[in-house]
């Protein structure tokens, strides 16, 4: 088994783990962390592809994905804080309507 195959399998396993966590967890902050896991797995795959192909484009794309992950975390954590402010403990199933 080559190093590339190990990284490929790890990426797939982490992505599946993140998807499991998104459905499993009820804390909005934990759900966000699991989404970050999935983004990391996708990013790892981009960098691996760049390495295998000998092309820098994958790494450049990975940097853009990093920025998107940061923006997503900022907005998601803002929403989670508002949710926790309204009810405690916060449950991601509770809010059913969005106003405004």
């Amino acid at each position: 088994m080559t190093a590339e195959a190990v990284v490929l399998l790890t990426s797939a396993a982490i992505f599946a783990l993140g998807a499991t966590g998104v459905l499993l967890r009820r804390n909005p902050v934990a759900v966000l962390m699991c989404v970050e896991l999935m983004l990391n797995a996708a990013n790892l795959l981009l960098v691996l592809g760049s390495h295998v192909q000998g092309n820098d484009a994958g790494q450049a794309t990975a940097l853009i994905v990093l920025v998107i992950a940061a923006a997503e975390a900022v907005v998601g954590l803002g929403l989670a804080l508002v949710l926790f402010h309204h009810r405690e403990p916060a449950d991601i199933d509770e809010p059913r309507t969005v106003r405004g």
């Binding site: 190990v6 499993l24 990013n43 790494q59």
Partner: protein, 179 residues
Amino acid sequence: MTLITPPALLWPVSAACLVAFAAAAGVVIERRAMRAVVALLAHSLAIAALYALLAADLVAVGQVLIYSGAIVVLFLFVVTLLPAGGAEPFSDWRRVAAGAIVGLVLLAALATVISGALSQPALAAAVQVQTTPIGSVAGVGHQFFDAGKLLVPFELTAPLLLVAIIGAVALWRRQGATA
């Protein structure tokens, strides 16, 4: 698949993969939010080590700075701000079953695709064409600015970050006005 990474790097890569996976499992399983954030930190550092091993130095530095430095610290701040440290109601069996089923199906699908790709001779042949060393700052910058394909996405990240900041502030201000 053709060997690109030197065989000596197989063990460091495997170790980093193991740490990344174990920490990811910790993030999913750990009920206390603070410990889950620390697991996320370990995960992101292991991923950064993998990037460095895969000759992606710039992305490795970005991962440490943006992910470990900014995002995980942001999560830490939010967890400390949460009342009762973000206590979480127990997941009922339906939720656990849904998570397990989706995780297993996704893993099976991905494993099928991967095993197909690994056994394909065409891919193995394509893999051998590695000419120039990659991962330099100049090379990645060339992809952004000279090659031109990624220029628009790169420029769009600036308004994206601005909108994210404004959105976060607006969320909190409106919430403060109604409370």
